[in-house]
Amino acid sequence: MVLKGEELSFRYQSGGRQILNHVSLSIESGEIVGLCAPSGFGKTTLCKILGGYAEPDSGTASLEGKSIRSYRGYCPVQMIWQHPELVINPRLKMSQVLAEAGDIDEHVITNLGIETEWMSRYPIELSGGELQRFCIARALGEGTRFILADEITTMLDLITQAQIWNFLKTESMERNIGMLVVSHSGELLDKLCSRRIDMQAFS
């Protein structure tokens, strides 16, 4: 499978700044690709388009030749956001949050360090890092083929970061999941990725 973005252009308001200008990239199954650029270069915007959250002004984002936004039901491309507290409903208990993604394998939950007692809590009773693990677990549902990780470990301590990335790397290899990793940390991308895309090159 190939996740493809072709000639993507995007601006938030008509007449506003051109965030993406004819950006093209493709990611193969099982491949881990790094994405780096200074703040404000449209890293998150690119993820939103590839994940089907936003419609590009021109160009196409597609999986196996089919536009991402046309997928119904569980989307094979899952985005993990930088701020977990914004993508979790504050009125649901954590067990309900996980249940929304269908069956999540038990080993995903244990390897991410999610403790059983967190399940009966509300999001407000967990820290940002703890919430992020739920977001990662939720994005690893059965139907996931690609993961877009938008600075997902920025709020975690180094040891936990290492734990989570090790797990994500083995998981993506085992399940042949393609990953786009967005990070400011060059070292992390060096360690993790087979190749790297620098968005500064596009502008």
Binding site: G51, G52, Y53, R72, G73, Y74, C75, Q78, M79, W81, H83, L86, V87, I88, N89, P90, R91, L92, Q96, E100, A101, G102, Y122, I124, E125, R138, G141, G143
Partner: protein
């Protein structure tokens, strides 16, 4: 709120609601006594027999106040509920049905809010032939705007929120998104808005009745009592205005209290207060 304070708040809430319910019942029972005139006992100041005194026609003011309050509360409940439902529907339609509907409903809200409240109420009530019908229609037409605006904003925000969008990508159906992601946020807003509408409705009902555009003079209503008592205040019959007035304020404060308590109990963010 911790568990102890939560329980405490819940008990107080039940107590307040029971008290209001009791007033409705007492008012029903006092209906005949409120109409009874007896010139032998006219203009009596408060005593054990007549705790709120009697008026110039010898009517028991306690019975009249209770009957009036009961009437007010029932009117308030009825009009507030219907107003809140109107607000909920118009607010949701504005948020969901696209730009044209939003523009129209937004314009309607601005228009209605632009006219002074009491003026519009008097006009509508007068046009509908005053009486209970006039008051009900008047209050219904003038109290839905601010709640409709709140609901519209809330639905718009929910539609755009990260967790609703993420839910769609996780394959959650539209119906399920509405029931598990949207309604739990909207219902507390709706309930709070509804309960906080009562005091408004009650005060406006008393207000236009006081001004003579509401309930008819023979009805034991707080507005009628207050406007009649003005003439007798100068002759020293202070109890005619003070007790009904204070009771009205008390009922309004109770409703307001119930409203804010409900909001705090329904909001998970207040768990740690």
């Amino acid at each position: 709120m911790n568990l102890h304070r939560r329980k405490h708040a819940f008990l107080l809430l039940i107590l307040a609601a029971t008290f209001l319910f009791l007033i409705i019942i007492i008012g029903f029972l006092c209906k005949d006594a409120a109409m009874e005139t007896d010139f032998v006992r006219k203009n009596q100041s408060p005593s054990f027999r007549y705790p709120f005194g009697t008026d110039w026609m010898g009517r028991d003011m306690f019975a009249r106040t209770a009957a009036g309050l009961s009437m007010s509360i029932r009117l308030g409940l009825f009009t507030a509920t219907i107003s809140a439902v109107i607000a909920f529907m118009l607010g949701s339609i504005a948020a969901v049905m696209g730009k044209a509907a939003d523009a129209f409903i937004g314009w309607l809200i601005d228009l209605m809010l632009g006219i002074p409240h009491i003026l519009l109420l008097i006009l509508i009530s007068f046009a509908c032939g005053k009486g209970v019908r006039g008051v009900v229609i008047g209050v219904l037409c003038t109290h839905w705007m601010s709640l409709a605006r709140v609901i519209r904003g809330e639905v718009l925000q929910l539609k755009q929120s990260g967790y609703v969008q993420a839910a769609a990508k996780l394959g959650t159906s539209k119906g399920k998104i509405i029931t598990i992601h949207m309604l739990p946020h909207l219902i507390p807003q709706f309930m709070t808005g509804l309960i906080l509408l009562f005091p408004h409705a009650i005060l406006h009902e008393a207000g236009i009745t006081f001004l003579g555009f509401g309930l008819p003079p023979e009805q034991p209503a707080i507005g009628v009592i207050l406007s009649e008592s003005i003439r007798y205040l100068l002759t020293g019959s202070w109890w005619l205005a003070v007790f009904p007035g204070v009771s009205l304020v008390l009922v309004v404060i109770l409703f307001d209290y119930i409203g804010s308590m409900t909001r705090r109990l329904l909001d998970p963010a207040s768990v740690h207060e």
